[in-house]
């Protein structure tokens, strides 16, 4: 970094200035040449001697134009990025603006307004005036900026240092700006990534490309016509040739190469692309078609082969409309294909072609002999589950394909794909998408979207967020809003009202819970930790073991949590673990949901509703194999279904309940002990009695003991239940109440210390609901009236 940069008004600077000037007047220049030529020719016809002057000027101007177009315009491409002469290193658009000495602050002023600098400013929502205040006025400080810019330009294989490179270097060499970036939750790596994004755009849109001929006019003359095939699908290669397809430039070259190798084989030259929905199987086929139709050398004997996508819908429609019989039509389509000789057939969502049912056909039997004879090449795209079904039902047929597994792209690749699609999204929505929005898209789609794979889930989320721009920008807030609305989760920073609610969570829960202070407190703390983002993101949002007698509020607390945290009483998945006592019941837990019907196993339910309270009642009664599954669920926040697909529990609150040791709790409480004093001893006893294994208990965030409810507390429960009844009958405009004596009588009659509040509900049903029903039917009570039940009404 000890190099000293210099600047001189060299020939390159003068050439750049002239190029800048000529670039602005090109249309004028062309008009001038044409006019001079016409005037010269007219004068020549009239045999005027002076005619040679406009002709001479026209010719001279034409030479100047050629000089500009073939040489001056390409100053940047002629550079080599060597040495320390800035006049040789800077791009032509800024070389005539900058001269040494120059301070970092002045340097920023010189490049502001340039599109490459503006790109960095807008993608990171940076204010140039703010940056300027943090930059030095000392010209000596610019040395490190130029050196860093040169390194950056070399790293990204540029030939010159442009305004974007200088701005990036200005930012990443300044400690004060680093602090400013951190305050915006950004760092230097993000800025360099944004710069890389810009370079990829420059390469994609501004790089010189040779005019392509796609094989020329005689390319398909030795291939057959495909009049029938053309009616039942789309020629992907033709679409690419017309330029109608804009897919990400981030293609997986290695997979495309693998596809080409397999398609080129002399035998078994069809391939099955196996990957989860959204992993990019179709994009890969487009990438392959793109390579082939351009006749690239890598394509070998596949050069200029075309990819045709067959549409099952149009085939079925033709059959249903009586235009042809299915088998006959399939034979004719594939005869056409076979005759063409230059087509690779692509069956997207191939299960539709190899199964029977609504919207699908089974053409495997027709295809088998044709594939065995290598009459044509075929690509099928299918999910692992569907491929498993196809392979199981038609093993000989599936063996005709070379299997290629398509894996999800990594974070770096996904962000690059998003950068590519962002440009078309911006054009469509007239917004600007920030870099942080792209990172947030990856983070949130990775965490909250489980039914699709990358990159599709990230692209879909980014597309959704276009509906929530903020002053013309799609920011991380737009992304958060999109995921919050689609998944009904809270991911953005808590609003002040929500913060208040979280801080007073105990109060909210106590509206539904009588007593159980400690239980409400530990659960509230866990929720606050999760919402504040200070919990381990790789474990469930919360995991609790509720221990205590029946009817003390264990289930009620779970329901209250579902309501408060996930926004609905329906956000609860409840399993009675006493029904899972056999080893074979493991399957009922982990069975994958089939495509045709929603599964009822725990995993398929969690996959459908990952943001739920999972209530596992009487957990101690489950088979040890199921408890082993719980270890992984609690520890890693995920489980694999019977097809090996992971299901995340990271967003769920897992609550296991048990009545084990309920009598012991009751006796201790009756003996005047406090829960806090005996909970450790109590837990140890459960382990010693082999009711729970220590490794299971250790994996819960909290083990919560529920105390039995005293008779006085049951009166409060009674009042809560009465309020529920009033809520139910509210549409009939009547209310019901109990006198204190009536309530006391009802509680006394139904009180059973072993059953807690449970008999109260039955008593309310018997005494209150029945009475209200009778009086409503007999007309004794009318809308607007209030029914008060006294001791005599309690049965």
């Amino acid at each position: 970094m000890n190099q000293q940069f210099s600047f001189s008004n060299s020939l390159r600077v003068k050439r750049a200035k002239l190029a800048g000037l000529l670039g602005k007047i090109i249309p004028l220049k062309i008009s001038f040449i044409v006019i001079l030529l016409i005037v010269g020719l007219l004068l020549l016809i009239k045999q005027q001697k002076i005619a040679y002057l406009p002709l001479a000027l026209s010719l001279a101007d034409f030479m100047l134009l050629l000089w500009y177009l073939w040489d001056l315009k390409n100053i940047n491409e002629q550079s080599k990025l060597e040495g320390t002469h800035l006049d040789q290193l800077l791009s032509s658009d800024i070389v005539n603006k900058i001269s040494l000495p120059i301070s970092p602050k002045d340097l920023l002023g010189k490049i502001s307004g340039n599109w490459q600098a503006n790109f960095i400013f807008t993608r990171f929502i940076l204010d140039p005036n703010n940056l300027a205040q943090m930059l030095s006025l000392n010209p000596a400080d610019s040395e490190i900026i130029f050196a860093t810019a040169q390194q950056l330009a070399r790293k990204f294989e540029k030939k010159v240092i442009d305004a974007g490179t200088i701005l990036t270097a200005l930012i990443i060499t300044n400690k004060q700006i680093e602090k400013y970036l951190i305050s915006m939750q950004l760092d230097f790596d993000d800025i360099v990534n944004g710069y890389e994004w810009q370079q990829r755009l420059i390469n994609r849109f501004f790089a010189k490309k040779n005019k392509e001929v796609f094989g020329g006019i005689g390319r398909d003359w030795a291939s057959g016509f495909t009049p029938i095939l053309d009616q039942f699908g789309a020629n992907i290669s033709a679409q690419i040739q017309k330029g109608n397809q804009d897919f990400s430039s981030v293609t997986r070259e290695d997979v495309i190469e693998q596809m080409e190798v397999n398609l080129s084989r002399p035998d078994r030259n069809s391939i099955a692309l196996i990957g989860d929905p959204g992993v990019g199987k179709t994009s890969l086929v487009f990438g392959l078609a793109d390579q082939l139709i351009r006749g690239r050398e890598e394509a070998g004997n596949l050069a200029y082969q075309q990819v045709f996508s067959l549409n099952v819908g149009t085939i079925l429609s033709a059959v249903q409309n009586g235009l042809a019989g299915l088998e006959d039509l399939i034979y004719r389509i594939f005869a056409d294909l076979s005759h063409a000789g230059n087509m690779i057939i692509f069956l997207d969502e191939a299960q539709l072609f190899f199964s029977t049912g609504t919207g699908s056909v089974d053409i495997s039997q027709v295809l088998l002999p044709l594939l065995e004879q290598n009459r044509f090449r075929m690509i099928v795209a299918v999910t692992p589950e569907d491929w498993q079904k196809i392979s199981a039902a038609r093993p000989t047929f599936s063996q005709m394909f070379n299997r290629i597994d398509i894996n999800e792209p990594n974070e770096d690749e996904v962000v690059k794909i998003l950068e590519d699609v962002a440009i078309s999204f911006e054009t469509r929505s007239k917004t600007t998408i920030t870099y942080k929005a792209l990172k947030e898209t990856y983070r949130l789609s990775n965490r909250y979207i489980t039914d699709k794979a990358f990159p599709a889930k990230a692209i879909d989320l980014l597309e959704d967020s276009l509906n929530y721009p903020l002053n013309g920008f799609i920011t991380e807030t737009s992304i958060q809003k999109a995921i919050e609305l689609s998944k009904r989760v809270k991911v953005s920073e808590a609003s002040s009202a929500e913060k208040q609610q979280l801080l007073n969570l105990e109060e909210t829960l106590h509206r539904r819970m009588i007593n159980q202070e400690r239980a409400v407190s530990v659960v509230s703390n866990a929720l606050r930790r999760t919402r504040a983002g200070v919990k381990n993101p790789n474990r469930p949002a919360g995991s609790f073991l509720f221990l205590g007698p029946t009817g003390v509020g264990k289930t009620e607390l779970a329901k209250a949590l579902a309501n408060v945290y996930f926004g609905g009483a329906d956000k609860i998945i409840r399993l009675d673990m006493s029904e899972y006592q056999r080893p074979s019941d493991v399957t009922r837990i982990i069975a994958a949901a089939s495509k045709d019907q929603t599964g009822s196993s725990l995993l398929s339910q969690v996959k459908e509703n990952p943001f739920s309270v999972i209530l596992l009642d009487e957990v101690e009664k489950a088979h040890p194999d199921i408890l082993n599954l719980m270890l992984q669920m609690l520890d890693e926040g995920k489980l694999s279904d019977n097809l090996g697909k992971e299901v995340s529990f990271k967003e769920a609150i897992i609550i296991a309940t048990s009545n084990a040791g309920a009598d012991d709790i009751r006796k201790r409480i009756e003996a005047g002990q406090k829960i806090e004093d005996f909970e450790t001893d109590f837990t140890n006893r459960l382990i010693d009695a082999h009711i729970f294994r220590p490794e299971l208990l250790n994996r819960f965030d909290e083990i919560v003991l529920f105390r039995p409810l005293a008779q006085q507390e049951l009166i409060q429960v009674g009042n809560l239940l009465l309020a529920e009844v009033n809520q139910i009958i509210a549409p009939q405009k009547v209310t019901v109440s109990l006198t204190p004596e009536a309530m006391n009588k009802m509680i006394a009659k139904s009180y059973d210390p072993r059953l807690g509040a449970r008999p109260i509900r039955r008593a309310i049903q018997r005494s209150v609901e029945d009475a209200v029903a009778k009086k409503l039917l007999s007309g004794e009570i009318k809308p607007g009236e209030k029914l008060t039940l006294d001791v005599g009404d309690i049965t």
Binding site: L66, W67, I217
Partner: protein, 119 residues
């Protein structure tokens, strides 16, 4: 200084670039007319239109005749395109070569025309 640079470019790099562009242009035309592909498939049936021979001699003769016609159609179509391609290539080459030869004299032509306008 810029004037000298212009003439340096015109007589050396510009001239060389012109030659390179001319060669590229000819290469482009060769690809555009699919010349290698047309030669390779010169006698191939037109769009693979062929008839499968039957068992009887009459059918076999008819199939052979059909296939021959398809090949003849293919041959003539390709030959016509090849002829058009060669004419285009030759014209481009002649014109390009002429301009290539004139190129170094162009600055002198400008001076000559100005001179001729006044004298």
């Amino acid at each position: 200084m810029l004037i000298i640079n212009f003439f340096q470019w015109w007589f050396i790099k510009g001239w060389f670039d012109f030659g390179k562009k001319l060669i590229n242009r000819l290469g482009y035309l060769i690809q555009l007319f699919s010349i290698s592909s047309l030669f390779r498939t010169l006698f191939a049936p037109w769009k693979r239109i062929t008839t499968v021979a039957g068992k009887s001699i009459g059918e076999k003769i008819r199939a052979a005749l059909d296939n021959l016609i398809s090949r003849i159609v293919g041959f003539f179509t390709r030959v016509i395109v090849l002829i058009a391609a060669f004419i285009t290539l030759i014209l481009t080459a002649i014109l390009g070569l002429a301009l290539f030869i004139i190129w170094p004299f162009t600055p002198f032509l400008v001076v000559f025309l100005i001179f001729k306008a006044f004298i």
